[in-house]
């Protein structure tokens, strides 16, 4: 669904922005967990993702963000969609698909791509942990 004329925020973006239930840090204890952070090169927007895995599934997914409403909404959507799934489902996240679902304008692509960067860092961390 698109936003009203001149309104840069779709109803979906507003809904996720206004209810960031997954903002914060991991609350539970997990056998496997990881935290990763990515930010814009100019020191602007910054995303942190934290995941807790239990029985091969994402039991908890949390974010911290300094950034615009679209990025906050995208992170909240990502976390709420990912919990209960496998990490490989999370790693298949594509900024373009998320932007389409949330009606995020194209000029915010760079921001939403930060989520992809953060997931890639999480993947590396989990791979390194597994190698140990």
């Amino acid at each position: 669904m698109t936003s009203a004329v001149g309104d840069p925020y779709s109803p979906q973006t507003r809904r996720y922005f206004e209810n960031p239930a997954h903002a914060g840090d991991l609350a539970g204890d997990y056998t496997t967990s990881a935290v990763a952070q990515a930010s814009e090169s100019d020191g602007g927007a910054c995303v942190q993702l934290a995941i807790g895995l239990r029985d091969g599934k994402l039991a908890e997914c949390r974010f911290r963000i300094f950034g615009c409403p679209h990025l906050i909404a995208a992170a909240e959507w990502l976390c709420s969609e990912s919990e209960g799934r496998t990490f490989s489902a999370l790693s298949r996240f594509q900024a373009g698909e998320c932007m389409k679902i949330l009606g995020i304008p194209v000029d915010k692509t760079g921001r939403v791509l930060l989520l992809e960067d953060t997931i890639r860092l999480l993947t590396d961390k989990l791979a390194r942990a597994a190698a140990h």
Binding site: F17, P20, A23, Q37, C46, R64, I65, G67, D107, L121
Partner: protein
């Protein structure tokens, strides 16, 4: 009213038209009203002309001018263009040096930049950290070939009020034309052009409860204050601004000016009290920076930056309170305010700025809601941010 669910604290962007003004304008537009062309030599035309001239007198009264000094325009942007480009080009044979500040409205800065491309030399005077012009720096910038100075009265983002009397006095002593963009000041604070050394002054109706699409340029009726017109096509408005006068718009600005003159004292007291209430309600939050001069700035504007908060998210979290992030003119560009950056604020602090602007219809309840929403938004957004920002890990 459609805007009822919202709390409007963006009066520096625009104001709602006064009901009395809207009614008078509507009457003027329709058959039976003074809808005629003021240039027509028949009773309906003459009735329209009388309305145009009554409005000219009403506006002149508000700013201490004489009616002949008032040139109708489409708004402050046109007035700024007409004044700056018109004066610079008219006086180009004497010299091509111009002075202004980077904190001026885009209607001013863009015009100066256009003139620079024509070969004029522009000196941009940086403001002090509080937004004021350093008069010593100003004196040092003046040259023998300086022809025009343009400094705004009330800054649209910070509410800073420049010392127009002293700046204009220095210009007058040296025979330099002095233009003032007073879009944020007219109808809101007392202005007496009979006493102020100002040659050209831009204003617009929609900032003081008049309609959009009409404004004026004060052009002192003196032989040395001449402009090259920007438009051609008739002898209207002292040959400076051709085109059929929009009688209903002009009636609107005239009546809005009269109402503003009558209400100014009460309006100022009202907005001063509300701004003080607003600042007392949020000022104790840590990491806030007040942009402007709280003690002697225009009391209708409170501009605050919040460390560690994204301005766009803050603005959305504030809704239904309608405010501005930077100025309304560049809010959509996503860039941080060029005005605040000129005051030395870093990109992040400038980007986090919220301009609350209070007006005639603002209420204590509006301010209480704004305080509650602002506090909650700043606290929540800071709580959501990574403990340490930057880098990738």
């Amino acid at each position: 009213m459609k805007s009822d669910p919202y709390i409007y604290l963006d009066y520096a962007a625009t104001t709602p038209v006064d009901e009395q003004v809207a009614q008078a304008m509507a009457e003027t537009l329709m058959a039976g009203g003074a809808f005629g062309n003021p240039s027509s030599n028949h009773p309906i035309g003459r009735e329209s002309l009388a309305i145009v001239e009554t409005a000219r007198a009403q506006l002149a009264d508000l700013i201490g001018a004489t009616p002949r000094d008032i040139i109708w325009t489409s708004g402050a942007t046109e007035s700024d263009n007409m004044a700056i480009a018109g004066a610079a080009r008219y006086r180009a044979y004497r010299g091509r040096h111009l002075i202004t500040m980077p904190v001026e409205h885009k209607a001013v800065t863009d015009t100066f930049e256009a003139l620079a491309r024509e070969g004029f030399e522009v000196t941009w005077l940086s403001p002090e950290a509080d937004g004021m012009l350093d008069l010593q720096q100003f004196d040092d910038a003046i040259r023998d070939d300086t022809q025009l100075v343009s400094i705004m009265l009330v800054n649209n983002e910070t509410g800073v009020i420049q010392d127009i009397e002293r700046i204009g006095g220095r210009c007058r002593e040296r025979g330099i034309l002095f233009h003032v963009d007073a879009a944020q000041a007219v109808g809101k604070i007392p202005i007496d052009l009979a006493k102020l050394p100002v040659d050209l002054m831009s204003l617009t109706a929609h900032k003081f409860y008049g309609p959009k699409g009409v404004g004026a340029l004060f052009v002192a009726d003196r032989p040395d204050c001449q402009l090259e017109p920007l438009l051609f096509g008739g002898g209207h408005e002292r040959r400076l601004r051709p085109g059929t006068s929009p009688v209903h718009q002009i009636r609107g600005i005239g009546l809005a000016a009269e109402i503003a003159a009558n209400r100014m004292h009460d309006d100022l007291e009202h907005i001063s009290a509300l701004r003080a209430h607003l600042w007392s309600g949020i000022g104790d939050l840590p990491g806030l920076t007040l942009n402007g001069r709280p003690d002697d700035g225009f009391p209708g504007i409170l501009n605050v930056s919040a460390e560690g908060v994204d301005g766009e998210s803050l603005m959305l979290a504030l809704q239904p309170v309608c405010v501005a992030s930077g100025s309304a003119c560049n809010a959509k560009s996503g860039e941080s305010s060029y005005v605040l950056r000129a005051l030395g604020r870093g990109d992040h602090l400038a980007q986090s700025a919220i301009r609350f602007s209070i007006g005639r219809h603002s209420t204590v309840d509006d301010i209480v809601t704004a305080i509650r929403r602002y506090r909650a938004a700043v606290i929540d957004l800071r709580a959501m941010a990574p403990i340490v920002r930057g880098g990738s890990a």
